[in-house]
């Protein structure tokens, strides 16, 4: 099986990795920024924050992210998958522009361009490093 080109289903997994992480982080931020400051002296307050609705929704999205992320890591390099996770920031920025009609500053447009070029750059290369196979043992387990 060649690892240099991904199948359409694998690109779909990378798409899921891209979109679910920034959306989950956004929900976490909304949940945490509405809470009073938490001190290290009271770590139980940090645990209680986990059960607030916004944080629960954020965690649910991040679990979806983690499942698709693990699947991607099983057939692609970490340094190939990580730029795809960053592309989610571009999707969220474009959604905020065209769906929520928020203003995007020139520096944010520059960020979108840099991420898009960076992801396109790495996507053209091989998705996985092929290491030389270890010497085969005459008796394979199982």
């Amino acid at each position: 099986m060649s690892h240099s080109r991904l199948k359409p289903g694998q690109y779909a997994i990378l798409g899921l990795v891209s979109i679910s992480a920034p959306l989950g982080d956004t929900l976490l931020d909304r949940g945490m920024s509405h809470m009073p400051p938490i001190s290290l002296a009271h770590p139980s307050a940090l645990l209680a924050a986990v059960f607030t609705p916004w944080v629960v929704a954020g965690i649910a999205l991040l679990i979806g992210f983690f499942a698709s992320y693990l699947t991607a890591l099983s057939w692609a390099d970490l340094t190939y998958v990580l730029p795809a996770t960053a592309f989610g920031n571009v999707i969220v920025a474009l959604l905020s522009k065209f769906w929520l009609h928020e203003e995007i500053s020139p520096s944010r447009w520059a960020g979108i361009a840099l991420i898009t070029v960076g992801v396109g750059f790495v996507a053209q290369g091989p998705s996985r490093t092929e290491h030389p196979a270890p010497p085969s043992s005459p008796e394979e387990a199982g």
Partner: protein, 135 residues
């Protein structure tokens, strides 16, 4: 101040420590998780042979995976703590862009990935882009 050089105050050190904790624990977790998934093999192939249960079993019986998840869980709580004390406009760009660079370094050293010029350039472009986008 020493010889006219302004010294960072305690707040700046605390901010740097919070962000460094998120970045380093996240990098350790991602590298360990990636190592676990590499040792398990292609999950699509395992699922084709053993079904979804077989794929889940392959993941949850790998000790390296749990070590990675432990670091990622620590990074998650470190992120919650940082978000509670620092603005998102500081935590998000700093941790996201630095993590991309530290992961590229760790991927080359610990996972022996072929981080060629293409991947270095991509990591730097994406790190700068994330910084600009999230600040």
């Amino acid at each position: 101040m020493i010889a006219g050089i302004p010294m960072p105050d305690a707040n700046h050190w605390a901010e740097a420590a919070m962000i460094a904790t998120v970045v380093l624990s996240s990098t350790a977790g991602e590298v360990l998780t990636a190592a676990a998934m590499k040792s398990i093999g292609d999950l699509d192939d395992i699922r084709a042979v053993s079904g979804l249960k077989g794929a889940i079993k392959a993941v949850v019986t790998c000790p390296l995976f749990f070590l990675g998840v432990g670091f990622l869980a620590f990074a998650f709580f470190a992120l919650l703590f940082a978000l509670n004390h620092l603005p998102l406009s500081l935590v998000a760009p700093a941790s996201a862009s630095l993590t991309l660079v530290t992961n590229a370094i760790a991927g080359k050293i610990f996972l022996k990935e072929n981080v060629d010029r293409r991947r270095w350039v991509s990591a730097m472009l994406v790190a700068m882009g994330v910084y600009l986008l999230t600040q």
